[in-house]
Symmetry: C2
Subunit: 323 residues, 2 copies
């Protein structure tokens, strides 16, 4: 296999075998109250309980597992979760990690990269600046571990759905958020790999304010313009080349959700599941709430992709109405 | 056994057998980051993931399991969690539930009682008013299921620690919050029942603003005055008679924590465990943070007692510093 060719469903079992011992097998949660509200059977895959608080640790661990012991260190660009994940994965092999982050990355994620031993380097919040910042480190000899547009990353992220499909049999649909497209393209490959006879539908959800994948599908190729404006800070990246190719081939549908719907979804996940899910991680739930008919009576697997966010300044609302 | 005599360790296994099929076997969570911060091994028993969002469903289910099919309905007083738990437990047997709640109960809990089919009746926020409100319903022939000062309730609440001690072997300490004392007295009985040779230490934690148990221990009998003022709305009740007797006999220590420490503990549980824990449920964690030395290098079981709260009005803090 050419290690840089487009990943296939056959890659996912070997990828899982490589990282199974280092990743957390995250639990599944469900809620009678939510199921009733949605008229469906929802199974939440808790990747916010993954090491470093997001699914990104899967791809990072997988990519790092391919590095030689002589590797002089790794570098990446990231809004935060991939950076923290890579820092931890690299540190377990004794490598340093340089993480180029946009200046508008949130404080909790900037802090997390440092917690796991990574070094943060700020850049302007544009795709160009992120890639230019990374190029400087590559020029110095470090190994680039990109956040999503790489086979090892996609194969690693696929293991979340791979696990989910083993934990919950006979799902009709899988729903995941789309940022750069690492998780959704991996999810589609896992569905194909696990689907015995009937392959679950795979649906991606994007914020309206970062709908590059949705528009790219309409156009049939990646759009030229991308000016993300959304509270879902983990989904501001531009969909990757390899990711878009896999999405076009294997993802059944892409839905868009408003900013209000994302906040509403976060509230449901807090009040009904008691889980703190970051805005990006609540985007699939927002898709379910906004497109209820589409999921009615189905068995739906939802990937809660992460839980890293700045906490609300005031936690106590004595006057507040219930969620 | 006189059903109204003081519960003993021997009661807990039979109590668990009665309710095992209806309660959720809640999971255990842990965090490397938190363990490192505290210098201890902490195992969190996730009773906020119990049905109705708190451990109260255990005691309520246990008490309801003793009712005759001819029961005309049940009644209680509650700051909320026992009311919702009783409403659900009663409804599974087809009984109605009248719930006397203090006017200052939080909106989320008032709503929850209704969600599970209970009828809310408000009273002044004093122990006397709560008991007087309940007496009216008893006069009408309903069966009182008190929130904590009853053997069936204490035996039921004990099953949380009973499960925990089966899930995590060789704990050195169990830590639980104290309100009316149902959970802590049950926890102490479970520790005695499960402790093979070495019985884990049992430590209760109270808000300074509702330190009736702490003061009662100093006095050697229940204090006469109790004017709770704390954000931990679930811990404002006055410690029960039977509960205090069991606490005096079997609880090793009672710690007090400030309001700031409770909020800080909630933040840690959100950022490090990604769990939404109500103020009352965060009180044991506040105790760990405030009395770090006491728990150093120990294996500590912490009961996260509930997760029902009004959600913060604003969830998104773009400027905020990390937790």
């Amino acid at each position: 296999m050419d290690p840089l060719s487009l990943p296939t469903p056959a890659d996912i079992a070997p990828a899982y075998a490589r990282i199974e011992s280092v990743v957390t097998k995250t639990p599944i949660m469900r809620s009678d109250v939510l199921d009733k509200r949605l008229g469906a059977h929802i199974f939440f895959k808790c990747e916010h309980l993954q090491k470093t608080g997001s699914f990104k640790f899967r791809g990072a661990s997988h990519a790092v597992s391919y590095l030689d012991d002589t590797c002089p260190g790794v570098a990446t660009h990231s809004s935060g979760n991939h950076g923290a994940a890579l820092a931890l994965a690299a540190s377990t092999r004794g490598f340093g990690a340089e993480v180029v982050m946009p200046r508008n990355a949130i404080a909790a994620k900037i802090k997390a990269v440092g917690t796991y031993g990574g070094r943060v380097h700020f850049c302007e919040p544009t795709q160009q600046a992120r890639e230019a910042g990374l190029a400087q480190w590559i020029d110095q000899g470090l190994v680039a571990i990109p956040p999503y547009d790489h086979p090892h990353i996609i194969q690693g992220q696929a293991t979340a759905a791979w696990e989910l499909l083993a934990q919950v049999p006979e799902l009709d649909v899988l729903v995941a958020p789309i940022g750069g497209g690492g998780l959704i393209s991996g999810t589609a490959l896992a569905a194909l790999a696990r689907g015995q006879g009937t392959v679950p539908e795979v649906i991606g959800v994007e914020p309206q304010g970062a709908d590059d994948t949705y528009r790219s599908r309409a156009l049939g190729r990646r759009v030229d313009d991308h000016h993300p404006d959304t509270v879902a800070d983990g989904l501001r990246a531009f969909v990757g080349e390899m990711n878009f190719e896999l999405i076009q081939a294997h993802v059944n549908d892409v839905l868009c959700v408003t900013e209000d719907a994302i906040i509403e979804a976060m509230r449901h996940l807090m009040s009904d599941l008691k889980q703190l899910i970051e805005p990006s991680g609540a985007v699939p739930m927002a898709g379910l709430l906004a497109h209820k008919k589409k999921f009615e009576n189905k068995r739906v697997g939802v990937i809660l992709s992460g839980g890293n966010m700045n906490l609300p300044q005031s936690l106590i609302d004595v006057e507040g109405v219930a969620a």
